[in-house]
Structure formats: C-alpha cells, structure tokens
C-alpha cells in the first residue's frame, strides 16, 4: 500500500485563476494510496518546499506528486527537496496543470476536472516508480569553441585561463570575425583592431588553445562531458609548418580581381591570400574556386616563388577527431543582403552601401586607408544619408525584431564621417533611437549636438539616381509627415542583423534548437541565457540574437564560467532515466532473444553485446546490454523490442499503462 503525498500549487494566480486548486487537493486526497494532500500559493518557494519536506517526514510518504508547472521548470527543485527529506528523488513526479491545463483553458468546472485527472494519472504512475540512483560519468576537460569572432575569442581565453584545454574551430582562414572589420567602436571610439588583434594573437599563442582555422564541424556525437566531434580542416593547399608568412606568393598571384570578402566587395584579393594584414594565423590559403591552377590546370606561380616550398596543390581535407566535454557556439551573425530593398537600389547604385562596407571605408586598413571616399568615383561625399532600420522592425521584409546594434553604429558612422569630412553633412533617417546601454544615449546626443548630424524621424520610401546624385525620398514624421527629398552623394543602409548562413545546418549537426529567425535558442530567456536545451552546449555572442561587442563578450564570459563549472567536477551526475534489458534467474537469464534490432536503431551506439557463459566457459546466450554512459533514454529500442525485454527507468511500459488505465477508469 502506497503512502503518496499530493501537493497542488497555485503558481500565484497562474493556476488558481482557472483551476480550483483547493478542490483538486481535496479530491486527490481521497484517491487510493494517497496519504496526504495540500495546496499552496507557491510550492517552489522556501515555505512551499519546507511544507513538502515536513509532510514527507511526518507522514512517512513513499511517493510525491507535485501538481504545478512543467517538469522542465521545477522537477529538479522538487526532486532535490524530496532528497533532502530522505526520499529517493525519483519517487517524486510532477503533474503539469499549468501549461497543460490552466494556461490553455478558461475558468470552469471542466478545467478543474482536467487538473484532477492529470493528478490522478500521476498518482498511478508514482505507485510504480522505483528508487533510482543517478549515474556518474567522467568529464573530458576540453572545450570546443566554434567560431573565432570576439565572442569565441573571449570564451576560449577565459576557459583556457582556467587551466582547461580549448579547441577553437573557425570557418574562415583567420579568426577575428566581424569585429576585425570594424573601424572604431561605440561608445568610446576606440579602434577595433587595437583592442582585438592582441586578443587574437593571445589565442594563437596560448598553450591551452589549439586553433583550427579554415575548418568546420562535421559531426557531433556523445553527450555532456563526453562529446566526440569530427572537424573538417579544409585544405589550405599549404604546408603551414614550412610557410613563414612572407607573403611573396600573394603578391605574385596572377589572379588579382577576386572581390575581397573582408572588404565586403570594396576591394580585390588574389587567389592565394591572407584575408587581412593582421590575420591570425598570418599564413595564406588558396581559394581553389578562383585559382588558375585549379581551373585551368596550369600556373603554379606561387609554388615557383615560394622560398620555403610550402605550397601543396595536392593537399586534401583532413578530418580531426576532437574529444571534448563542452561545446561553446560562437558563430556570430551576418547582415541582411540588401537585395531585399529594390527600392533602395543596393547593387544597382554603387554608392548605396551597407553598414559593414562603411566600416571598411572608415577603417585605417580599409580600401581607402580610412578616407571616406565613395565607391563609384572615389570622390569625397559631401552629403551622406544613413538609413536606420533597413529591414529591421519590418514585418513586410520578414524581420520583426530590432537588430539592436544599428542605432548605435549609425550614430558612430555619422560621427566618423563628420570627423573625417568636416564640411560634410550627415543625415540619419530613423524610426526610434534605441540607445539603451552605458554611455550610449550620451554618445547619440554627441552625434546630434556636437557633430551636427541631422536626425530625421521617418522612413525612406525610395532612392534613385539623378544627375549623378542619389535622390533619397522619405518622410519627416515630426514635421507633420512632411515629404523630404535629399540629394545625397552616398547612402549607407543599416541593414538588419540576421543569423549566419548555414546556422540551421550547424544547429542540426550540433543538436541544439533554434528560433524562427535561425538564431540559436537559449534554454531560458532570463535565467539561462547562455545555455542551450542540450546539456553541455553553450552560446556566446550574436549567434543567439543580435548583440553588440560588450554584450557578446559578457555572454562569452558567462558561457566560459558555465564550462569551467562543468569541468570542476571529476564525475558528472546523469539522470538514471535510461533503458535497461531485463535480467532473470537462470536458465532464462532474460526475455531478450539476442536479435539486436535495438542495436541497429540506437542513435547513440549504446547497445552492447553481453555473452552469458556456463561453468565451462562456453557461451550459452548472447544478450543485449545498455551502456549507461551512452544511453540517453530516448526509448527507440523499447518500441522496437519484440519480446518486451527493454524498458526505460522512470517510463516503464507498466507505468505508462497505469497512467492510461487511470484515465480510462474515470
């Protein structure tokens, strides 16, 4: 006979507004096997937990049902409370009467009836719960950081400085990310390169960090503490040990007209190239798609001129296997391709550029050595129009969210322009100025007051070229929706920040969830901002949502702390909710017949073969056995097993049948 306790939570008014919690507790108390029942305003609070613990001790409860929110929210809370009161935590279950009941139904007797049913079902399940002990698994104290932008760099250095090994994987030939493309940074106008490049060098030289550039993650297996990752190191067509980075090859390469990605198409690069002069590592790669040798089968100029004979045309991609205990995703963001705006003429008019292109124009290492010159004819523009929210906050363009960084960088652009072209006139078309952040609002005011930027509140409807000028037509909503027409020399579009191309595929490879805009999803928007729903995988920077540098760095340090905390354990505790193959006394041994269908469907390679031998050492049976470290408790094997020899702890067939019967017998 069971002695079960039922605790019904009001969740403030979240549940009690539509469910009669008192009645649910009273009716549940009358169920067979229920020894104690109560309701309380906040079960998860300290008094609520104390009530639970006291009841366990006082009434000698051998099972607990907490009827409250989703188990994803507070199951660990209540299981810990049970453990503290001396009850095995796996004898505690949650009945979700919030998400599954009160939130989705109006206040009525039927809603209360449903809550009662949900509790009854769980009571029946708990009667068949078994005391379980958690599983201990070892931790590989190496972190994999995917992405070498400022967030990845910060996370890698923080983890490495805690004394743990880090493997950093960067898709491009150099680390540095978008930040290395920026000219100066808001709100202090310090030079992006000056603050970033030393950090890049630190990564390359850190004894705890292994850097793989021009590499991508191919597959991720395993679980928290024990990931097995395959990394594809794309062929650089170069022996990196021999290459001294002298750069002779890049100057002699006959291909010189390839649009330079780092300069956002505003300059050119050869086929063998270093992305930018401060690149880390500062060694070239051959872009095989544009290399004359790979296209036509002859050239090899780089090989001829290389003083150390480091060029390797026949080099193949290499797959490296990395064992790691945690993964930090820091793959960053991209800016929306402005072909979304045929009305703004991006791509049609050379002098309509995006924000990142303006960064390159303003950068001392950029194609114009920091002079603001327009791309069409190299003239210094006397009037620039900056268009904020080019795509952001615009459901018609499919982007409802605010890209967050554009208000600030647009103010910065206007400032930089004014600092470099004193007689220039910057205009900014904006919807609202969102300058939340330390010294941010002051920075925008400076752009408006000191640098005389004309802020026009309104949208731009169209941009077209006329007599060598760009006619920007818009509206000034603060002047009674007055139409405005500005004859500009150049236009800069603050295009929306979007998820990186390929982020969806990466999310699927790494097994993390992502949102409708393909940004990686955090485990909880407030309390778990750097965790994902997959244990052991963390987020840093703008791969989660558009973020500026300070926020990206903060998130990266946050993720690093999570990794360090994980690595501070010798053994990790895992939930024992895994599959198990039944065992019986000889001569039966098990109802498993050794067909190993389960082995072929297990996504985690967790099914092993176990041989049963007689006294003479002869194998008499071969049975399936579950590797406790690898099993994730998905249950695929249970569904496949034709002799019902496999069950999952905590979700046995018997338990599920009991739940169903409890509902049917109503």
């Amino acid at each position: 006979m069971s002695r079960i306790g039922v605790f019904v939570c009001h969740c403030g008014e979240n549940i009690s507004a539509t469910v009669d919690c008192e009645k649910v507790a009273r009716i549940s108390g009358e169920l067979k096997g229920v020894e104690f029942s109560a309701d309380y305003k906040y079960m998860c609070s300290d008094p609520g937990q104390t009530m639970l613990k006291d009841a366990i001790r006082e009434h000698k409860l051998d099972g607990v049902v907490v009827a409250a929110c989703s188990p994803r929210m507070h199951e660990p809370t209540f299981r810990n409370a049970c453990a503290e009161a001396g009850l095995n935590p796996y004898l505690c279950e949650m009945s979700n009467i919030r998400e599954h009941c009160s939130w989705v139904h109006p206040k009525s007797d039927l809603t209360t009836d449903k809550a009662e049913s949900l509790v009854r079902v769980m009571v029946e399940k708990v009667k068949k719960n078994k005391a379980l002990n958690s599983i201990k698994v070892p931790v590989t104290r190496t972190a994999l950081v995917i992405g070498g932008g400022v967030a990845g760099i910060q996370a890698a250095l923080d983890i490495a400085n805690c004394g743990h090994k880090v493997v950093m994987v960067e898709k491009l030939p150099s680390i540095g990310g978008h930040m290395s493309q920026l000219s100066e940074t808001f709100p202090t106008l310090d030079c992006s390169q000056c603050i970033l490049t030393p950090r890049m060098v630190e990564v390359a030289q850190h004894p705890n960090i292994t850097l793989y550039t021009y590499a991508e993650v191919e597959s991720v297996d395993g679980f928290i503490g024990n990931f097995k990752v395959k990394v594809r190191k794309k062929s650089k067509s170069l022996d990196e040990h021999l290459c001294t980075g002298c750069g002779l090859c890049t100057t002699k390469c006959p291909q010189k007209k390839i649009p330079n990605e780092f300069e956002r198409g505003l300059g050119f690069r050869p086929a063998i190239y270093v992305p930018f002069p401060q690149a880390v590592p500062n060694k070239p790669v051959i872009d095989r798609e544009n290399c004359t040798y790979y296209i036509k089968g002859k050239c090899k100029v780089c090989e001829i001129v290389c003083p150390t004979k480091a060029i390797r045309f026949d080099q193949e991609d290499e797959i490296v296997e990395v064992d790691c205990g945690a993964i930090v995703l820091a793959t960053g963001f991209d800016v929306l391709k402005p072909d979304f705006f045929p009305e703004y003429g991006y791509g049609k008019y050379k002098d309509v550029i995006d924000g990142l292109q303006f960064e390159r124009l303003a950068s001392a290492s950029g194609p114009t050595q920091g002079m603001i010159r327009r791309p069409s004819d190299g003239e210094i523009p006397k009037k620039i129009v900056f268009v904020a929210c080019a795509g952001s906050r615009d459901p018609a363009k499919g982007i409802e969210y605010c890209s967050k960084i554009c208000c600030m960088y647009t103010a910065k652009h206007a400032m930089l322009y004014k600092h470099k072209v004193h007689d220039g006139t910057p205009y900014v078309f904006y919807m609202d100025i969102r300058a939340g952040g330390k010294n941010y609002e002051e920075f925008v005011r400076r752009a408006i007051v000191e640098d005389e930027t004309h802020y026009v509140r309104g949208r731009v409807s169209t941009i077209y070229e006329k007599n060598g000028k760009l006619i920007v037509k818009g509206v000034d909503t603060l002047m009674g929706a007055q139409p405005v027409e500005i004859e500009a020399d150049m236009v800069v579009l603050a295009t929306a920040g979007v998820a990186n191309k390929g982020s969806e595929e990466l999310a699927q490879t790494v097994h993390v969830s992502y949102d409708a805009h393909k940004f990686f999803a955090e485990a909880h928007p407030k309390l778990k901002p750097v965790e994902t729903n997959t244990a052991g995988i963390f987020l840093a920077g703008a791969c989660q949502a558009p973020k500026d540098i300070p926020e990206s760095v903060a998130a990266a340090s946050g993720a690093a702390v999570k990794v360090a905390a994980l690595f501070s354990n010798d053994l990790l505790t895992r939930e024992p909710l895994i599959a198990v193959v039944n065992r019986q006394a000889p001569p039966v041994y098990s109802s498993c017949v050794g067909c190993f269908l389960c082995q072929s469907v297990c996504p985690y390679q967790a099914i092993e073969r176990e041989e049963i031998k007689n006294r003479n050492g002869e194998v008499i049976r071969t049975l399936a056995k579950v590797n406790e470290g690898l099993c994730q408790g998905c249950g695929t094997c249970v569904a496949l097993c034709r002799t019902k020899a496999i069950d999952i702890y905590g979700y046995s067939n018997q338990q599920v049948y009991s739940e169903i019967m409890a509902l049917l017998n109503d």
Binding site: E261, R264, K348
Partner: protein, 303 residues
C-alpha cells in the same frame, strides 16, 4: 478558350482603346473574352469611402454573376477594378459571416472561386508562352514601364510582383522586343482621381513621372491602368505647363505594345484614340551609351 471579361466603366468610355487592344490581342491567341452579363460598377474609390457593405456587395455581385456563367477566370484590365475585386474576394474569403450577409444583399450565390486576373497575370497565364513565336514586328523602342499603385498594392493580399520595384511588365516588353529601361518612378503616384478636383496636383505628380522617363530617354511610357493613362496622356498640356517643357512622349497600354509586336495595326489597337499623338520615333535604336542599362546583378558580397 473562354475567359470572363469585366470591362468596368473606363473600358466603355475613356479607355475604349484599352478594351479594343485587349480584345484584339486575345483574338490573335484564340482566346474568347466573355463579357460578364449585366455587370455593374465595381464601386471604385467612392463606395468604400461611403458604405462598407456597398463596397463589398458591388464587386461580389460581379463575381457571383461570373460564377453563375461558369467562368473560372475573369480578366480585369482596369487596375482599380482588379484591386477592388481582389480585395473583396480576400475579405469575404476570410469571414464567412460577412460572406453570407453579402450574399443576401446581392441575392445571388457567391462562392469566391473565380480567379481574378489583372492584365499582366492574364497575359502571363494565357499568352506569354506563345508570345515570342508570334512576334513579327519587335517593339524596338525604349520603354518606361509604369505600374502605378493599384496593380501591386497591397502586396500582402495581391501578392503580385515586387511591390517597390515590379518587373513583370518589363519582362513582357522585353519579350515583345523592346528595351525596358531602368527608371525611378515605376510605382510613384500619378495623382489618380485628383484629375478633376485638383488638376494642379496631377500635373505636378504626373509631371515628375513624365520628366524622369523623358530624362532617361524613354520613347514610350507603358501602362496597365486607365487612370494612369488618362493622367499621363490627357493631362499632358497641364503637365507640360508645369514642367515648362514640351514632352511629346506617347503613353501606350501594355496590350497595345504586345498587339503592335504581333503585327496588329494601329487602328485595331486604338492608337488613334490617344490625346497625345502616337508617333513612332524615327531612329528607334539609340546609341547604347545613351540608354540607361538595366542592372540586375547585385554587388558580389561573398565568395
């Protein structure tokens, strides 16, 4: 092949040449246009400013009559009529209660199953495939395709072409052998119904459109809306007065352009009915340097 035809008021009056050219073009491609019997006014701009039910009922009755005739497609050459019919179909499709109410008002069964086609959609669906083989006299001129407002808006409902920089008419003109120029006023307002009450506003708005097309060396402006046509064509004296210029560029309907390309004569296409005389430039092909080139590529951003 039988296709429903809703002329609306303008095809019978100010835009007779539009109907004539659409009919003539359809005949070339063996399409029979069946005028919806007993059709009524679509409500135009007046009805939806006065009475919501009236504005729904007028187009609903037209579509109900078409359904009764068993017509599955209706071609509506007037952009304003097309807009009204499409919007009503959308609104009634989303609200069953409203639909039954409107049905009782018009005293006809309305299902909302007919497909409403504007002139470009009609051409795309029934003519484009066979167009190029029928072209005997390529329309070898620089053409500024002018879409106006009602053909492409509201985008969420009509979902026709790119709303800010439409391309469908440019594609048709190119297929007819013409050079569709890149210009800036494709969807700017022509002044629409202000033609009578505020002719000065129409002169200014249409004037800017004419000027840009003229500056960019267009030989013709091509339209798909009788209202746009009347403003750009009939109001030419006022436009020229506003601009202080004498722009003689003719304004053609897209159906007339295609009609010319497939060899129909000027009279059949009603070219004689325009206010601004249709004179074909003597040297149709201009020096390449003078023609603004259409740019379709965007800046290369990535490897």
């Amino acid at each position: 092949m039988k296709i429903g035809f809703y002329p609306g008021c303008s095809m019978k009056g100010g835009a007779r040449e539009y109907q004539e050219s659409v009919s003539a073009l359809a005949r070339v491609f063996d399409i029979e246009l069946v005028e919806i019997p007993d059709w009524n006014c679509c409500g135009a701009t007046a009805a939806h400013n006065l009475n919501k039910e009236l504005s729904l009922s007028l187009p609903a009755r037209i579509m109900a009559l078409a359904e009764r005739e068993g017509l599955t497609d209706i071609v509506v050459p007037c952009a304003a009529c097309y807009n009204r019919l499409s919007l009503v179909q959308h609104e009634l499709g989303a609200d069953a209660t409203l639909k039954s109410k409107v049905c009782s008002i018009i005293d006809l069964k309305y299902e909302g199953t007919t497909q409403i086609l504007n002139i470009i959609q009609f051409i795309d669906k029934y003519i484009t495939d066979k167009l190029e083989e029928k072209v005997v006299k390529p329309f070898n001129y620089n053409a500024a395709c002018y879409y106006g407002c009602l053909l492409v808006r509201p985008h969420a409902i009509l979902n026709f072409d790119r709303v800010e920089d439409p391309q469908s008419m440019d594609v048709l003109v190119t297929k007819a052998g013409g050079n569709a120029i890149d210009w800036a006023f494709k969807t700017e307002c022509c002044g629409a119904g202000m033609s009578v009450s505020r002719t000065d506003t129409v002169a200014r708005l249409s004037g800017e459109i004419m000027k840009d097309a003229n500056d960019r060396k267009a030989d013709f402006i091509i339209v798909a809306c009788p209202m746009c046509h009347s403003n750009l064509d009939m109001r030419r004296p006022e436009i020229n007065k506003y601009l202080g210029e004498n722009i003689t560029m003719p304004v053609l309907y897209i159906s007339q352009v295609l009609g010319l390309a497939v060899g129909l004569d000027a009279k059949t296409l009603g070219l004689n009915r325009h206010m601004t005389e249709v004179i074909f430039p003597e040297k149709p092909v201009k020096a390449a340097a003078d023609i603004p080139q259409k740019v379709v590529t965007t800046q290369k951003m990535e490897a």
